[in-house]
């Protein structure tokens, strides 16, 4: 894998506006018996490429759930552009318009073609049918899958599936990409390709990318790394 263009840091870049701000973030499950997050504080600026790393069970995925408004914190505040995500009346609108999700297991719908899978998030927009189709085709072309538009996921390789998932995450032109171990299910060659693609999209679209990874080589390509340990951001790293 290529070495990063610039060494990742644990500090924020200067000058950009804050997109996420977490203060005393706590998340408990099973009536407080499981403590996934034990008081997390951080800030992420607009246009940052941040990798969240840490051992299994440290709370990375829980944090991603909160960033994507898939769940609410038990305590503390997580703000997106100054607004508390916990207070959102319609989290689905935030997920549809502001966020693009990329999952480790791709999570494509098996009975839909690549072109149809990319159109799925567009149901929550007022985009006309024809435009949806054209936009989905353009997104698939941008990830190098223009010849796979009508293929079903089951007929495609893991790398191709993840590229469809990346195209899908861009369907509504989100401000933030949240990626959960995007290379975790790929061989090293495809992992490399997918990471290159993410970096290219990040550069071209000037979006904020937050990815979770175990892999230090993947984390090394991010502009900043947040290390987590035992439900907290590890500031000693």
């Amino acid at each position: 894998m290529d070495s990063p263009a610039a060494a990742p840091t644990t500090g924020r870049s200067n000058g950009a506006a804050c997109i996420y701000e977490a203060t005393g973030l706590v998340k408990e499950f099973d009536d407080g018996q499981v403590h996934a997050l034990r008081g997390v504080d951080f800030k992420i600026d607009e246009g940052e490429f941040v990798a969240i790393t840490g051992p299994s069970g440290c709370g990375k995925s829980t944090l991603l759930q909160l960033l994507g408004a898939l769940d609410r914190p038990s305590q503390g505040v997580l703000k997106y552009r100054g607004q508390s995500l916990g207070d959102l009346k319609d989290p689905s609108a935030y997920r549809a318009r502001e966020i693009g999700f990329i999952f480790q297991a791709f999570h494509l719908l098996p009975t839909f073609t690549a072109l149809e899978n990319v159109q799925i998030p567009m149901f929550e927009t007022s985009r006309p049918l024809k435009e949806r189709r054209e936009h989905a085709a353009a997104l698939l072309a941008s990830v190098g899958l223009e010849k796979r538009l009508h293929h079903f996921p089951g007929k495609l390789s893991g790398g191709e599936r993840q590229r469809i998932a990346i195209a899908r995450s861009l369907a509504n032109d989100p401000s933030v990409l949240l990626a959960d171990e995007p290379t975790g299910n790929l061989d090293s060659e495809n992992a490399h390709l997918v990471l290159d693609l993410l970096l290219r999209l990040y550069e071209e679209r000037k979006m904020t990318v937050i990815l979770i990874t175990h892999d230090p080589t993947v984390a090394a390509r991010a502009k900043r790394v947040l290390r987590m340990k035992d439900g907290r951001v590890d500031t000693s790293a």
């Binding site: 995925s61 991603l64 759930q65 994507g68 898939l70 769940d71 319609d90 689905s92 609108a93 997920r95 549809a96 318009r97 966020i99 999700f101 999952f103 297991a105 999570h107 719908l109 009975t111 839909f112 072109l115 149809e116 159109q119 799925i120 998030p121 149901f123 929550e124 049918l129 949806r132 189709r133 899908r168 509504n172 959960d180």
Partner: protein
């Protein structure tokens, strides 16, 4: 790709299960079409038969049985005296088994009265007089009994001759054995008894005026009831029981369909929990997920309804041809009944989908990351 194709694709995920569920609901709908169609057809066939005989009003004691109770023939004289009555025809009607047919209507009618006038002789002839030991057969009855003019037929304890085959212009008329009232009273030991008086009113009598005639008849003959032709059968207790039974059976079949669809949709929701959570993570609103599940369920109902009306119509055709009941049934499968049945099926689909849809709304989007 529109929302409808998403819904269709959802059903297509498990084609065998979708097909079996669809078959389940379609059997319920087929039962509605067949039973209600038969029940309506019986009613309208009966009415048509009366109209073919030129009857405006029917006087009978039709209570708990399909055929009315006998009463004294002298009652007719009181009816005939009314100024609005142009003619009367006495009948003694029974449904009984005759030779190879388990259920056949015997319609014995006053010799020379208007009840004989509309019969078109297809072969042979009509009886020569009231006591000639002969019968005529409606053409369907002749087919069912495999008789032609000149053959012998066993009625009660006597062997009579089939003197002719007739076209009575209606299924009920064509499906019965017709003979002279006097002869049948003698054969069945019901001398002096009748159970129906067909009444022909004077020309150009309005519907309201006919209703008034009914009231007058009811006053002069206590114990029997005069009714307009269109209301005759529907007021019969026996018919009401058949009607209620057909709806009861249909409802039961529909209930089974509801449970089948509900089971399928619940399994769909459980199996697709991950998919639903992914859709939520991708920004779908819960309302859209609920709409998707309800639409799948309604579509299942719609397709089940379409298949069901086809099966029901086919079933009725087969039933109509069955020797045991041929000539007694003229099922009425109207476009209205078909539309109604498909409508019921869609409602069944929606109702069956309510609980699964509610369950689908409980799926948490965070499960997408845990999967």
């Amino acid at each position: 790709m529109n929302f409808f194709s998403v819904v269709l694709r959802g059903l297509w995920r498990r084609p065998v299960r979708t097909g079996l569920t669809l078959l389940g609901i379609s059997i319920g709908i087929a039962a509605v079409v067949a039973l209600v169609g038969i029940s309506h057809g019986f009613e309208s066939g009966w009415e048509q038969g009366l109209k073919q005989r030129g009857t405006d009003l029917v006087v009978s004691n039709i209570s708990t049985a399909l055929t009315p109770k006998p009463f004294a023939a002298e009652m007719r004289d009181r009816v005939a005296k009314l100024p609005e009555v142009a003619a009367t025809s006495e009948l003694l009607v029974e449904i009984t088994s005759i030779e190879s047919s388990e259920m056949m209507m015997i319609s014995s009618r006053e010799w020379g009265a208007f009840g004989w006038q509309h019969l078109k002789v297809l072969s042979g002839r009509l009886p020569k007089d009231a006591l000639e030991p002969v019968v005529v057969l409606g053409q369907i009855a002749a087919e069912v009994l495999k008789k032609k003019a000149g053959d012998k037929i066993q009625i009660e304890t006597e062997e009579l001759t089939v003197c002719g085959i007739v076209d009575g212009g209606a299924v009920v008329e064509n499906g019965c054995v017709i003979l002279s009232l006097e002869l049948y009273q003698k054969l069945s030991g019901n001398e002096g008894k009748i159970n129906v008086i067909d009444v022909r009113a004077v020309p150009n009598l309005s519907r309201d005026a006919m209703r008034q005639v009914c009231d007058k008849i009811n006053e002069v003959i206590p114990g029997v009831k005069a009714m307009m032709v269109s209301e005759h059968l529907s007021t019969s207790q026996g018919y009401k029981v058949i009607h209620a039974m057909s709806w009861g059976t249909s409802s039961l079949a529909i209930l089974v369909g509801v449970l089948g669809v509900m089971n399928t949709m619940l399994m769909t929701v459980f199996e697709r929990k991950q998919e639903l959570s992914i859709l939520l993570a991708l920004g779908w609103r819960r309302r859209r997920i609920v709409q998707m599940i309800l639409s799948e369920s309604a579509l299942l109902g719609f397709f089940g309804g379409i298949v069901g009306v086809g099966l029901g119509a086919l079933g009725v055709k087969l039933l109509q041809a069955a020797p045991a009941i041929r000539g007694l049934l003229s099922p009425e499968i109207s476009p209205g009944l078909l539309l109604f049945s498909v409508g019921i099926s869609i409602v069944v689909g929606v109702i069956s989908g309510l609980y699964p849809a509610w369950r689908s709304s409980r799926v948490r989007p965070s499960e997408a990351l845990n999967a």
